[in-house]
């Protein structure tokens, strides 16, 4: 079946050229087209969020708050957080790559609910429009966490529109998750048993559980904040005997698992990439699938570790600290199993694999520093400092964004039908890795020295490390701009991609690049296990390598 890897001409009908016109895109119910709509919109928000990040880093170049006023700075980090988390990190992998690939990977014609899929995108756009409105109307400075009573009673910025933006985007995320769960349960091709699902699909299944069961809680918490401002309900109001920590409980019940919404799909990508470029079966398939589900479920039990100094009970803190370590076990399994997958492989170093190397390393650092924060004694010192900032950027940028780039390069031939320039890809991967570490590693040290986060001016002894960090951020920015440029370039000038340029396993490589509207010419029937690299011939020539 892998003989499908013959080079095809670009004239063949596929999902991109099946119909033309703006309407055929805006009203499409094809999951692949919706994925592209998402790709465009999340890229837009990524660069907005990135622009805020650059301004933040520029401000922090000097100890004095000289580039912008403190109120502007507060809006910058708030909107950087809200845009990046709710409009990039959470939707990015599921809504773009998941949307595009899950139906193809399981041999279905589309997601179970194509119209709801389109509705999800429109909800995302409505939420995004509200976010843009919030930015244009003067911004919001609650911090992305909306902590009460600051957000409810002490700010007169655009809190309500920001809250609504997050609320609407949240429902986009819920519907995407719901669609994935039903699709994975109900739409698998004949022979595609649960044990044969690619780990990418498993990772989205685990992610979707969190999206469906976690997001509504933050939705209602944020609605209550908006109602408190709008109608003077007082559920979080200390003046009525309300407990400000209640909001934090509701908020983190979702927002901690949300970290796993961001990282789990990334783990799925890395499993695919490591297997492909090692030409090997994944080491310990069942353990890897169970670890994904384990992380998703245990991730719901640990939220109050964000609140160790917030005034929760000492005993609750002990319980949450202990539970937090339980997440460490499946995470450790994943890292070791990826590494073991490479053992006795036949490894090549294409761009996606370089990102996968980076992911394993950076996720290891991000995960280990999470153990510092889970340790109560250390957390009291480093929480709300740059240590936390560095930690979650290692997980979210070093983990999720790097995995997203790995996935984009890996599946770009499938999505666009063109190859990206391999040399530029490797250069960008290197820039991202170096720039990222230079940006965020100094922040661990800053954090332990005691520099609080969300400060727009700081004591001078912190300057050296901040300058390093800002320097790194500029390198990182170049690393991000490059892929956008060469991906766009390749859409026109890139060499045509064969159906299976990497010689990869999985149903998505058996259909043409780009796939036809209904994904397959004939209904595929699966008779093989996942990652059957022993049965797939190595491509004679790696089209992209060197």
């Amino acid at each position: 079946m892998a003989t499908a890897a013959v080079v095809e001409t670009g004239e063949r009908e596929n999902y991109l050229n099946a119909t033309y016109g703006l309407k055929s895109w805006l009203l499409t119910v094809d999951h692949k087209r919706i994925a592209l709509l998402y790709l465009i919109s999340i890229t837009f928000f990524f660069f907005i969020g990135g622009f805020f990040a650059l301004l933040i880093r520029l401000e922090l170049l000097t100890p004095a708050g000289d580039l912008v006023q403190s109120d502007v700075y507060n809006k910058l980090f708030t909107m950087h957080g809200q845009v990046m988390i709710f409009f990039f990190l959470i939707p990015a992998v599921p809504a773009v790559l998941g949307n595009f690939l899950i139906p193809i990977m399981i041999g279905a014609k589309d997601l179970a609910f194509p119209k709801i899929n389109l509705l999800s995108w429109y909800l995302y756009i409505i939420g995004g429009t509200l976010m843009i409105y919030t930015i244009l109307a003067g911004g919001v400075d609650t911090g992305w966490t909306f902590y009460t009573p600051l957000s409810t009673e002490f700010l007169d910025t655009n809190v309500i529109s920001a809250a609504l933006a997050v609320f609407v985007a949240g429902f986009s995320s819920i519907l995407t998750g719901l669609n994935f769960i039903v699709t994975i349960h109900r739409m698998r091709a004949p022979g595609m048993t649960w044990n044969r699902l690619p780990l990418f699909v498993w990772s989205h299944y685990a992610t979707s559980i969190i999206q469906v069961l976690g997001t509504p809680v933050v939705a209602i918490a944020i609605v209550l904040v908006a109602l408190e401002r709008l109608l003077h309900l007082g559920i979080f109001n200390p003046a009525l005997g309300g407990d400000p920590l209640l909001f934090q409980h509701l908020f983190w019940f979702y927002s901690h698992p949300a970290v796993y919404i961001m990282i789990l799909p990334g783990m799925g990508i890395i499993s695919e990439v490591v297997c492909c470029f090692s030409r090997k079966r994944i080491f310990g398939y069942k353990a890897m699938a169970l670890a994904l589900l384990g992380i998703a479920v245990i991730g719901f039990l640990v939220w109050a570790h964000h609140m160790f100094v917030a005034g929760i009970s000492l005993y609750a803190a002990l319980v949450f600290s202990l539970l937090t370590y339980f997440v460490g076990v499946p995470s450790a399994i994943k890292v070791f199993n990826w590494t073991a997958t490479m053992y006795k492989g036949s490894i090549t170093y294409q761009t996606p694999m370089l990102y996968a190397f980076a992911f394993i390393g950076l996720f290891t650092i991000g995960g280990l520093t999470g153990l510092f924060l889970a340790s109560l004694g250390i957390d009291v010192h480093v929480t709300d400092t740059y240590f936390v900032v560095a930690h979650f950027h290692y997980v979210m940028v070093g983990g999720m964004v790097v995995a997203y780039l790995a996935g984009m390069h890996f599946w770009w031939p499938k999505i666009s039908g063109r190859m990206y320039p391999e040399g530029w890809g490797k250069l960008a991967a290197l820039l991202v890795f170096v720039g990222f570490n230079l940006t965020f590693f100094p922040q661990f040290i800053l954090g332990y020295m005691g520099m609080p986060r969300r400060y727009h001016a700081y004591p001078p002894e912190f300057q050296v490390l901040n300058v390093l960090s800002t320097a790194g951020a500029t390198v990182l920015a170049v690393g991000y701009l490059l892929p956008m440029v060469y991906f766009l370039w390749s859409m026109r000038y890139g060499p045509l991609a064969p159906a299976n340029p990497w010689g990869a396993a999985g149903l998505e490589w058996q259909t043409s690049s780009p796939p036809p509207t209904f994904n397959f010419e004939d209904q595929p029937v699966v008779t093989w296990e996942a990652y059957n690299y022993d049965e797939i011939p190595d491509p004679e020539e790696d089209p992209g390598a060197n």
């Binding site: 041999g107 279905a108 014609k109 589309d110 997601l111 179970a112 609910f113 194509p114 709801i116 819920i174 719901l178 669609n179 769960i181 039903v182 699709t183 349960h185 109900r186 739409m187 698998r188 091709a189 004949p190 022979g191 595609m192 048993t193 649960w194 044990n195 469906v212 069961l213 976690g214 997001t215 509504p216 809680v217 939705a219 209602i220 918490a221 209550l224 109602l227 109608l231 003077h232 309900l233 007082g234 559920i235 109001n237 003046a239 009525l240 005997g241 309300g242 407990d243 209640l246 409980h249 509701l250 019940f253 209904f518 209904q523």
Partner: protein
């Protein structure tokens, strides 16, 4: 591990216009819709769950004040509304049954009756809200509250203990948030049923295809269940004292 439902009837004849292109069989489509609806309801459980969590915390902290504020509600109106909702759940069951049996006018009848009961519920709710406005029991600047704690009526005036008005305001905040969110779901439900009634009248639903009726019914029952909990939790705190 089960094999996929798509394994069934690969070359199924696409004779039903309601069968969408990407499904292999009607059963697969129906199962997908049903699972999707149940997942949506799971999501709703967590949505209301956030408010129930807030309720639990404050009721635990301010038990007496919540009892006092709870008794400002009209228990009988709450009970009548519970009955109305239970009746509407029955009419929904009968509507689904009529759809399954292909009885078009019966389906329209039960749907319209459901809408009517839903409107009765909302009307009673609106009346209760209006009373709260008159008594200044709506949270905000005009809120005022001066009521005894439960079980204080019989005591000498000097010893009578009054509820903390700030905690009563907290109770009413929760009351309005929870019943308001519930009422919003009711309004959406009434809207959906109005659409269903029109479509049913036009004969869109057949014994082969009535998924919208069935799934909307599931939604309605869920909203009913929320009320089954809201009624004792909001209306019946410390009633015996």
């Amino acid at each position: 591990m089960q094999t996929s439902p798509a394994a069934v009837a690969e070359n199924h004849a696409h004779d039903n216009p309601a069968l969408l292109h990407h499904f292999a069989t009607e059963a697969q489509q129906k199962d997908a819709a049903s699972l999707g609806m149940w997942l949506f309801l799971a999501q709703e459980v967590m949505f209301f769950g956030g408010m129930f969590c807030a309720y639990l915390v404050y009721r635990y902290k301010y038990f007496g004040d919540f009892g006092s504020a709870s008794q400002q509600l009209n228990m009988w109106l709450g009970a009548v509304n519970t009955v109305v909702l239970i009746c509407s759940s029955l009419t929904v069951v009968l509507a689904v049954r009529a759809a399954q049996l292909g009885k078009r006018m019966a389906l329209v009848f039960w749907l319209v009756l459901t809408i009517f009961l839903g409107l009765v519920f909302l009307g009673i709710k609106a009346d209760e809200y209006a009373e709260k406005f008159e008594k200044h029991h709506v949270p905000g600047a005009r809120f005022s509250y001066h009521e005894l704690l439960p079980g204080q009526e019989g005591k000498p005036a000097a010893e009578q203990q009054y509820a903390n008005p700030r905690h009563a305001e907290m109770y009413f905040s929760l009351y309005f948030a929870m019943t308001g969110m519930h009422a919003l779901h009711m309004i959406i439900g009434v809207g959906i049923f109005a659409y269903l009634a029109i479509m049913a009248y036009k004969g869109r639903y057949t014994p082969e295809y009535y998924t919208p009726v069935e799934n909307s019914g599931l939604y309605w029952h869920f909203v009913d269940i929320v009320w089954i909990y809201l009624f004792p939790l909001l209306y019946l705190i410390d009633r015996h004292r």
